[in-house]
Symmetry: C2
Subunit: 287 residues, 2 copies
């Protein structure tokens, strides 16, 4: 298949940037992938065959590219946006992959006025271990991939560049979902950010309550429940700062815990287990 | 290998009782396994080759047995204990597999005065799906198996019957751990009961906050985090009622969530992620 984009820049070659590059190259062998990151990351990415060309200079990486893919922490994407906009050709498409979208899309409205196009994106996938050494061309297979269409703005989905990106997303095996930024951030606060924070808080509580006995007495349920507990803070710091609904979501989890706590000795607790089992089934496509 | 127990009764042929029977029969093909449960459960267990003989009468199932294995809800074990004690030979060993131990062991002190022997037990294993149709001879492989030794009481571990049960536990692949009942219940409240309640509360909160979008937008992290959310209330009702430290453990999780919530925009949150990652490593034998 001929590549919908021929000259791509990946800004930030971690788990997501590296995996996107690998998936892109597998689907479109003629695509040329440049990358910008720190020297040691670029060296590793080149050794693993993830990228064709390495830049330590951001503007040089963006020059003459028809697709620029930001796989940076959200706050860094925002901070570097003017520089990226200045270095990128006007007819190129710039997209990102951050886990919160409201602040990034706000910044992009300033930096990329029409006919420039910045399309906020969020591949809903990941692993608890970051870095391009864990990158995989299969990371997007079967995952949802959100693109942001804000209400009231010109429909990005009708721009030819957006159509090409949508095609790439489907070719690498992901399911495309259009959402507005605020709705995305609210849903993802509950579906991704809250589970992460819940895992951290649960892990801390278990460690405090059970200490080293956790090593010998924990069952498989705890290990699975706490898979996210291994995620490094570096991946989450700016998500925690830029997720508009996370504080509210935590408050609602606290409310739900207090509610369940008050029912421990009552058969009304059956209702809570039923609701919980409903989500279990939804997550497994059983409902 | 000759069986350390020749005539075993399994009271309650669900996931644990059924798996213990299967593991026992694989290790000791000459053992005779009787079982007591409802007729339809007994029929299923017999069809699956889990048991040799089925009883709907509890006393008949216990008669002439050298090992009686209670795999019942904790409160049912307590309620039926006098009847079990009356029907079981004085030199037999009676043990249970419930997830809380303080109340069961209190009741057993009354029902089984020396030289009778009731040994509280807890195989720290399970699946989110109960029933003998999910039973497996491998369920205990690599799992911890707690036996209860209360301080001040005659050391059960020196009784020959206890020694034989310890041998069985090791033969079926589990790791034997001796604990006193109160210590067990406290540790397991944090390591097993709290994670279950946390999964239920998180699932309810996510379902309320994200609704059906969970089906299309959730990543693999949420699915793993909520594996326990599928556990049926029937398995947990009496654990919730008889776990002495569960209320306190939920309170501490609420405290930890509020603490993390207050740090969402501070780099102090890195400390919480570090503690969390420590438990992640302990659970995987990496520390």
């Amino acid at each position: 298949m001929s590549a919908p984009f021929h000259r791509v820049a990946i800004l930030g070659v971690g788990l997501i940037g590296g995996s996107f590059a690998l998936a892109l190259r597998r689907a479109f062998p003629d695509v040329h992938v440049a990358a910008w990151d720190r020297r040691e990351v670029l060296d590793r990415a080149r050794q693993r065959g993830i990228i064709d060309q390495a830049f330590e200079d951001l503007a040089a990486a963006c020059r003459d590219r028809d697709l620029v893919y930001l796989a940076l922490p959200v706050e860094e994407s925002i901070r570097r946006m003017p520089e990226i906009a200045a270095a990128t050709p006007a007819d190129s498409l710039v997209t990102d992959s951050g886990s919160t979208k409201v602040f990034v899309c706000d910044a992009a409205r300033q930096a990329f006025p029409p006919p420039r196009l910045f399309l906020g994106g969020h591949p809903v996938t990941g692993k608890e271990l970051g870095g391009c050494e864990h990158a995989s061309a299969d990371l997007f297979s079967g995952a949802s991939y959100v693109l942001i269409q804000d209400p009231g703005s010109q429909p990005a989905s009708q721009d030819a560049r957006a159509g090409r990106l949508a095609g790439v997303i489907e070719t690498i095996g992901a399911r495309l979902v259009w959402l507005d930024a605020a709705e995305h951030d609210r849903l993802i606060a509950f579906l991704s950010h809250l589970p992460q924070i819940a895992a951290v808080a649960l892990a801390e509580t278990v460690l405090e309550g059970a200490g080293e006995a956790a090593g010998s007495l924990a069952g498989p349920g705890l290990r699975d429940s706490l898979r996210l507990a291994g995620s490094p803070y570096a991946l989450w710091a700016d998500i925690c700062r830029t997720s508009p609904s996370l504080d509210e979501a935590i408050g609602r989890l606290v409310g739900s815990l207090e509610h369940v706590r008050s029912r421990l000795r009552s058969d009304d607790l059956a209702e809570d287990f039923q609701q919980s089992a409903r989500l279990y089934k939804i997550l497994r496509g059983m409902e």
